[in-house]
Symmetry: C5
Subunit: 383 residues, 5 copies
C-alpha cells in the first residue's frame, strides 16, 4: 500500500509533484469555513478500527454517522477517512465529530501548513506525508489531518490508495508491542512517527542523486546537468517547507499542557521530534551541497571553455604566422624589374630556407606553450 498508485499516469505524477509549492486559498472575502471540494478529488472511503487490548474490529463505513456508536465507548476508535471528493459527507463528518468550522476548513482545503491547534475537547494536528516516486523522480506529498479526542482518533487523507501506515496497521492487527494497550494518543504518535520516518527514504534518493551530480558537474557539465541541479534544489526546498513546520507542531504537542496527550506518550514524541530534527538536518545538508553544485557547475563550464579556447589559440597562434609567411612568397612582384623585388624566389636554397624558418617558429611556439603548462589537461581523454 506504500507504493504509488499504478493507476496514476507518470505525467499526472509530475504535475502533482510540482504542485507542492502553493497553499490553498479561499476567494478573498469568502466566509470562514467555506469548503473547496475539487471536482476530480476521489470519493471518500471511511475505514474504522475499534480496538482495546483484547479485541479489534475492522469495518468499512458508508457514512460518517456510522461512527457515532464507537466514539463514546471506552475502546479506542481510529476513523480513517481517505478522499476529499464529497462535500455533504465532509459536512456530516464535521457534525459527527463536532468540528469547529475552521478545523473542517483546514482539513478539507488542502494543502495547509503543518500545525498543532488545541480546541476544548480535541487537538488538531496537520501533517504532510511524503511518499517516494521511482528512484530519481522525486516524491509526492499529501496532507494528513489528525483530530485527537478522548477515545478516538480521526485521520483524513487526500488519496484513498496510498499512505505509509501499513506497518502501523499490521502492528495493530498483530497486537505487537504496546500499541493496543495504550490510548489514541499513542496511535497518533505511531502514525506521526511513520510520517516523519517516511522522509528518510525520499532523502536517501536525493543523497544519491547529489553524489552522481557531483561527478557529472566536474567531468561533463551539460545543460541537462543544470536542469537536474535546479530540480533538486527546488524539490529540497519543498521538503524543507514540509518538515520545518512539522518539527514545530510536534514540539507544540510535547510542550503544551493538555490532558489528551499522556506523559508516557510525550517521551515517545520526544523521540519523534529528534527524528524530525535529523530530517531537517539532512535536508539542510543536501541544500548546502546542491547550492555548491551550482558553483562547481559554473566553474566547470568556465574550465571547459578554457580548454576549448586553448585549442583554438594553439592552432591559430601556430598557423596564422606561417600562413602569412607563405602568403609573402605568393606575391607576384615582378622580379625582373628590380633586384629588390623578391630576390628570395630565385635563391638556390629559397624554398628549404622558408621551411626552416617555419619549423623554427613551430618548435618555439610549442615550447612556449609547454612552458606555460597549456598541454597539462590534454592527456585527459574527456576534456
Amino acid at each position: 500500500m506504500v507504493d504509488v498508485n499504478p493507476r496514476l499516469a507518470p505525467a499526472k505524477i509530475i504535475e502533482e509533484a510540482k504542485s507542492y509549492v502553493d497553499y490553498t486559498w479561499d476567494e478573498p472575502g469568502s466566509m470562514p469555513g467555506t469548503l473547496q471540494v475539487e471536482p476530480d478529488a476521489p470519493t471518500p472511503e471511511i475505514y474504522l478500527v475499534d480496538y482495546r487490548d483484547g479485541c479489534l474490529v475492522e469495518k468499512t463505513l458508508n457514512h460518517p454517522a456510522d461512527c457515532e456508536p464507537y466514539l463514546d465507548s471506552q475502546s479506542v476508535s481510529w476513523v480513517d477517512m481517505r478522499g476529499l471528493g464529497n462535500e455533504p459527507m465532509l459536512q456530516e463528518l464535521g457534525r459527527v465529530f463536532g468540528l469547529h468550522p475552521l478545523v473542517l476548513e483546514d482539513v478539507v482545503n488542502v494543502p495547509q501548513r503543518a500545525k498543532t491547534e488545541e480546541y476544548p475537547d480535541q487537538i488538531l494536528y496537520i501533517a504532510r506525508m511524503v511518499l517516494p516516486l521511482p528512484t530519481g523522480t522525486g516524491f509526492v506529498s499529501e496532507q494528513v489531518s489528525f483530530i485527537l479526542g478522548q477515545h478516538y482518533l480521526l485521520t483524513v487523507q487526500e488519496e484513498p490508495d496510498r499512505d505509509c501506515f501499513h506497518m502501523v496497521r499490521r502492528r495493530l492487527q498483530a497486537n505487537k508491542g504496546s500499541i493496543r494497550k495504550l490510548g489514541p494518543d499513542y496511535l497518533m504518535y505511531s502514525l506521526i512517527d511513520a510520517i516523519i520516518d517516511g522522509f528518510f527514504p525520499v532523502l536517501e534518493d536525493y543523497g544519491e542523486r547529489i553524489e552522481e551530480l557531483e561527478e557529472e558537474v566536474v567531468t561533463r557539465p551539460t545543460r541537462q546537468t543544470l536542469k537536474r541541479v535546479h530540480a533538486i534544489r527546488r524539490e529540497l526546498l519543498a521538503l524543507r517547507r514540509a518538515i520545518w513546520p512539522q518539527r514545530d507542531a510536534i514540539n507544540t504537542l510535547i510542550r503544551d499542557e493538555n490532558l489528551l496527550v499522556t506523559p508516557e506518550v510525550r517521551i515517545y514524541l520526544r523521540d519523534c521530534y529528534d527524528h524530525a530534527v535529523q530530517v531537517l538536518d539532512m535536508v539542510e545538508t543536501y541544500r548546502e551541497l546542491a547550492a555548491s553544485l551550482m558553483d562547481i557547475y559554473l566553474s566547470s563550464v568556465s574550465n571547459r571553455m578554457n580548454e576549448i579556447i586553448k585549442v583554438l589559440t594553439i592552432i591559430s597562434t601556430i598557423f596564422i604566422p606561417l600562413t602569412f609567411i607563405v602568403g609573402v612568397y605568393g606575391m607576384n612582384f615582378n622580379t625582373e624589374r628590380s633586384p629588390y623585388n623578391m630576390p628570395e624566389l630565385n635563391w638556390y636554397w629559397g624554398y628549404p630556407l622558408v621551411w626552416a624558418v617555419m619549423l623554427t617558429i613551430i618548435v618555439s611556439l610549442l615550447f612556449y606553450f609547454w612552458k606555460k603548462g597549456w598541454f597539462e589537461n590534454f592527456a585527459d581523454p574527456k576534456n
Copy 2:
C-alpha cells in the same frame, strides 16, 4: 469592484506599481500630525453600513459628521471612506472619531508600514492590500487603515474604485454566516482576512511566471529574460515587505489584552495569522527560486558561449592548417633555379597527394573532437 479600474492608463499603473518601495515622509522637523494631501488624490467618498442581526442600512454620506448619530448606537456601524483628496474633510473625520493627531497622520500620509496600535478607546490597524494586475504584469497595492471602536469600524482606503471587500459586503447584505450576529471586531477580521487572502492570486501569478522563466533561462536566455528575472525579484521583495509587518500586526491583535477584540474573534484571527504565515512562506519560496534563476541564467549564458566558441574552434582548427598548406603551394619560388625549390609542383601525383594529406588532417581532427565529446550538444536544434 475587485478589478482594476479601467480608467487607469497602463502607464499610470506601472508607475503606481513601482511606487510601492518608498514610505511617505514629512519634511524633516515638521509638526507631528501634519497631513500631506496629494493634489491628484481622489475626492473622498463615504459609505455607511449600519447593521444588526435583523436589519441593515446602507447610505452614502456627504460629510463625516453625518456618521455621528450612528457611532454610539448599539448597532454596528461600518464607515468606509475611500479617497484621501480633501484635507478639511479628513480633519473633520479626525474630529468626529476623536482620532489622535498621530493616528490621523498615519491614516492620511500613505504609504505607512503595517502595524497595530492601541489607544484608550480605539485600536488602529494599518494594512496593505494588494490587487492583481492582468496576468504577468504584477500588482498594485494600497493602504487600508482600520479604526476599531466599541460599536463602529472606520476603514479608510486610498482609491474609491477598487478593493477586495465585495464578498464581505455581499455576506453582510445576504446575512450569510454569523457576520451580522457578531460585533465590529468580527467585521474587521473579515476584512483583514480578505486582504490576506488577496495575496494568494497575486502570488499564483508569480509562481507561473517563475515556472515559465525556469524553462526560458535554460534553453534561450536573452537580455529580456534577465530583465524579467530582476523584475520578479524586485516585486517579490515588495510583496515580502507588504506581508511581513502584517503578520506581526495580526499577532499583536491576537496577543494584546484589550476588550475591543473578543475571544471568539481571536480564534478567527489565529486562522488569519496562519494564512499570513503561508503567504510569507510562499513569498520566501518564490524568492529563493528567483534567486537561483539568476545563477542558472549566468550558467546558461556561459554554456551558450561555450557552444559558440566550440563551433568557432572546430571550424578554425580544421581550416587554418589547410589554408596554410594550400598557401605553401601558392608560393612562387622559381622551380627552375634549383631542384630544391618546390619540386612538389612538378610531381605527377602532386595535387592528389596534397588532397590526401588534407583529408587525413580533417578526419583526424574530427575524430579528436568527437572523442572529446564536442559534438554532443550539436544534435539539439536550439543550441
Copy 3:
C-alpha cells in the same frame, strides 16, 4: 540653513562623505575622558533659546557659563552648541552641565555609535544626522549629541552652519502646535524626529540612482557602471550603520523607566521609532536591489561577450572555409606535367563552379546559424 555650506569645496565634501566609516578612537591606554579636538574643527558657537508657553528668548552666548542662570529656571532652555574646536570651552561646558567625563568624551570625540545612556539626572542620546548632497553625490553625516536634563536640553553639533532643525526652530518661534507647552523632552523628540525624517530625502536619491542603474546594467554595462554600483553599496552600508543603532537607542528611550521622558512624549517617540523602522526597511530593500545589480552586471557583461563572440564566429565560420577554397586554386601545381594536377583550372566552367560551391556553403551556414537562433539579438541596435 539646511543646505550644505557653500563654502565647502566639492573635494572636501567627498572626502568628508568617505569618512563615515571609521569611529574615533583614543590612543590605546590613554586616560578615559581624554578629549581629542581636531585642529581644523570649527570654533564653537552657542545659541540659547529659553521659552515657556508665553514667551521666548533667543541669545547667542560667548561662554558656556552664561547658560547657568537659565538651567535651573522653570522655563525650558535649549542650549545648542555648534562646533567642537575649542577644548577649554568644551571642558567648561562639561563643568557647567555637570557631565560625567565619559559623556563629555562621547560628545567631543566624534564620530561615536548612536546610543542612549542614563545618568542620575541626565539622559545622553547620541544621534547621527544625515544631510543630502546635490543629487547623485550622496550625503554628509554629522553627530548630534543630546543631554536632557530636568529643565534644559543641551545639543552639541559638529558643524555650525548646517543641520535639519530649522523647521523646529520656526515652530518654536511661531508657537505652532504644542511645542512650547511641553517640556524639554518634547523638544528632544522633535529634534530626533527631524533627524530620522532627514534620512528619507537621502534615501529617495538612492532609489532613483538604483532605478537608473537597473536600466544601465542591462543595456550598456561599462566599467563606470561597476564603480557606481559599488559606490551605492558602500554608501547604503554606511546609512545602515547610521540608522540601525538609532532605532535601538530610540527604543531604549521609550522602554526604560525614567522620569525625564513623560508618558505623553513616549507616544510621540513610538511614532518616531516607527519611522526609524521604515528607514531601515528602505535601506535593506535598496541594499538587496543593489546586491542584485551586481549579479545582473556580471550576467550582462557575459551576455555582451556572447554577442561579440557570435559576430566573430559567424564571420570566421563563413569566410575561413571559403578562403581555404580560393587558396586551393591559388596553388601553382604544374598542370602540364600530369592530368591530375589541378585539371579544374582548365575546365570551361571552373570559375563559376567554384563560386557556386562557395555560395552554397554561405547559404547553408547562414541557415544553420538562423536555426540556432544566433541572429535573434542582432535586430537590437545597442548590442
Copy 4:
C-alpha cells in the same frame, strides 16, 4: 589503539568516510525500539574496568550479564562495549542496565544526532567521535553512546579496534591525577573531553589542506583543484554537523539539574564546553575560507582565460592584416591590360615598400598593446 585499523582496506575507509551524511532510520511505521543490526557489524566485545582509589580490576567479559555483580557495588564500573553485531547480546545489555527501549534503539541504530537525555536513574549522552585518516584523506567518525548511572558508566562504540580513549585508560591504570578518586561522572567527562579534543588533529589537517589550496587556486587551477575544494567543503560540513549538537548536549549536561553529575565535574564540563566552542569556531572559519576558495577559483580560471585570449588576440591582430596585404599582391590581375591593374608589382621599390608598410603595422600594434598593459603578466613563467 588510536590508529586506524590497518585491516581496513583504503577503499572501505573512503566509503565509510562518505557515509557520515545520513542518519539511520527505521522503516516508516515500525515499532519504536526496533533494533537494526547490520549483518557485517563487528561482534561485540565487552571490557570491564572496576576501580576505586586503591585498586583496579580489568576484565574481558563474555556476556553483559557478567557485569551485574559490579553495577551495584560502591566502586566505579566502566563497561565498555565495542561492536554492534549481535542482537541478542544487545537485548541482554538493555535488560541488564534497565534501558528504556528508545535508549537502546538510539544506542544500536547508529548514526544518531548527538544529544543528552535524562531518565529517572540514568543519563543518556550520545557523542560522535572523529579519528583522523592519513594526512590529506579526511577522517572517519563513529558514534559513542554513554549511559551514566549511580556507580557505573556504560559506553557503547561501533568499532572494537579504534578509539581515542587510550590516554584515559593509561591515566586510570597509572592512577594519575584525580581520575580514580572521583565518580563515574568524572570518567564520563574525561572521555567526552577526549572526544572533543579529538577534533583538533582532524581540523589541523584541513587547515593545512586549505593553505595548500589557497596557493594552488591562484597559480594553477585545474579540475582536480575544484574537486579538492568541494571535498573539503563537504567534509567540513560533516564536521560541523558532528560538533554542533555535541556542544548543545554538553551544555545540557552542565545546566540541567540532576544528581548524577556533581558540581565539581560541572566545572570540568564547562572547560570541555569551551573546547567544543573552539572546535566549532575553527570549523566555521575553515568553512568561510573554503567558500572563498571557490570564488577565487572562478576568478582564477577567468584570469587564465584572459591570458590565453590575449595571446590569441595579439597574434591574430598582428598577422591577419599582414596576411591580407600579402594576399593583395598575390592577385593575378593582368598588369598588361591596364595601367591601373596592380602597377605596384612592377615598381622598382615595390617589395621593400610592402615590407616597410608591414613592419610599421607590427610596431604600431605592439606599441598599442604595450600601452594597454597586455604584456604585463607575460613575464610570469606560469601563466
Copy 5:
C-alpha cells in the same frame, strides 16, 4: 615598548601572523590541567608594581613566590608576567596565586578563546591583544590573561617585549587621573580598554588597503590583486574571531554579580563595551566591503576579457572577408580556356574596383561597430 620587537625576523612575523587561526589543543584524553610549554617560548620575566595613592614601587622579580608579601597588603599589586617558557615557574605561579588547574591551563596553553570565568575569590579574563605590523602587512596577536583578586591583578603575556600598555604604565607612574585612587578592577579596566582601543589602528590599516584595492580591482585586476583581496578577507576573519568573544566577555564582567568589580568601574566597562561594539561594527563593514571586492574583481576580469575579444573581433571581422576577396583573385583559373574563367582579371578597371569593394566593406563594418558602441571604451588608455 609598543613597537614590534626589531629582533623578530620578518619571516618569523609572517609565520606568527598566520598562526592566529588555530586554538591550542591537548592530546585527546590527556589529564585536565596539563601544561604545554613550547620549547622556544621566551623565559618569563616578572614585573611588580605595587601602589596606592601616595606611593608606587616598581620591581623586577625572579620568582613568583617573591610576590607573596604584596598580595595580601591593602595596596594594589600588579604582577605582570611576560613569557611562557619555564614550566616550573608557571607551576609555582599557580601555587602562589591559588589558581585552579583549569585556569592555569587556559593561561599557559595559548591561544585560547577570550572569556570571563568566575571563581570563588578570583575572576579570570582572557583577552586577545593585537599589535599592528608595518603598514600593509597585517598584525600580530597575543593572548593576555588577567586574574583579578581582592588586592591584586595578575596579567600573563606571551611575549616579554611588546604590548600596548605603556600609556597605562605612564599614567600609573605620573599618578594621572584616578588610576592610583581606585582598586585593581580599575587597573584591569584600563588594560582591557587599551587592548580594545588597540584594534583601531590595525583596522585603520585595513580600511586604507581596501580603499586602494577598490581602485585596483576596477582598473587593473591582476592575479596579485586576487591574492591581496583574499589575504584581507582571511585577516579580517581572524580579527572578527578575536573581537567577538571579547565583547561577550566584557559584557559578562558588567552583568555578572560579583564583589570584585565595583559599580563605579562597571560604568567605565560599559564604555569599553561600546568600543568593542564599534570595533566589531567596523570589522563587519570591512568584511562586507572585502566580499564585494571579490564580485567586482570577477566582473572586472570579465570586462577586460570583453575588451580583448572586441579587439580580436573587430580586426578579424574586417580582414577575414577582405583576405577572402584577394584570395579569389589569386586563383589560377585559366582565363584563356573560357570567357567565364575570371574575366575580371583582364578588365581595365579590375584592380581599382576590387579596392573599391574592399573599402566599402571596411567602412560599413566600422559603421556597424560604431553603432553597436564597441569603440566606447577604447578611448580609455588603460583598457
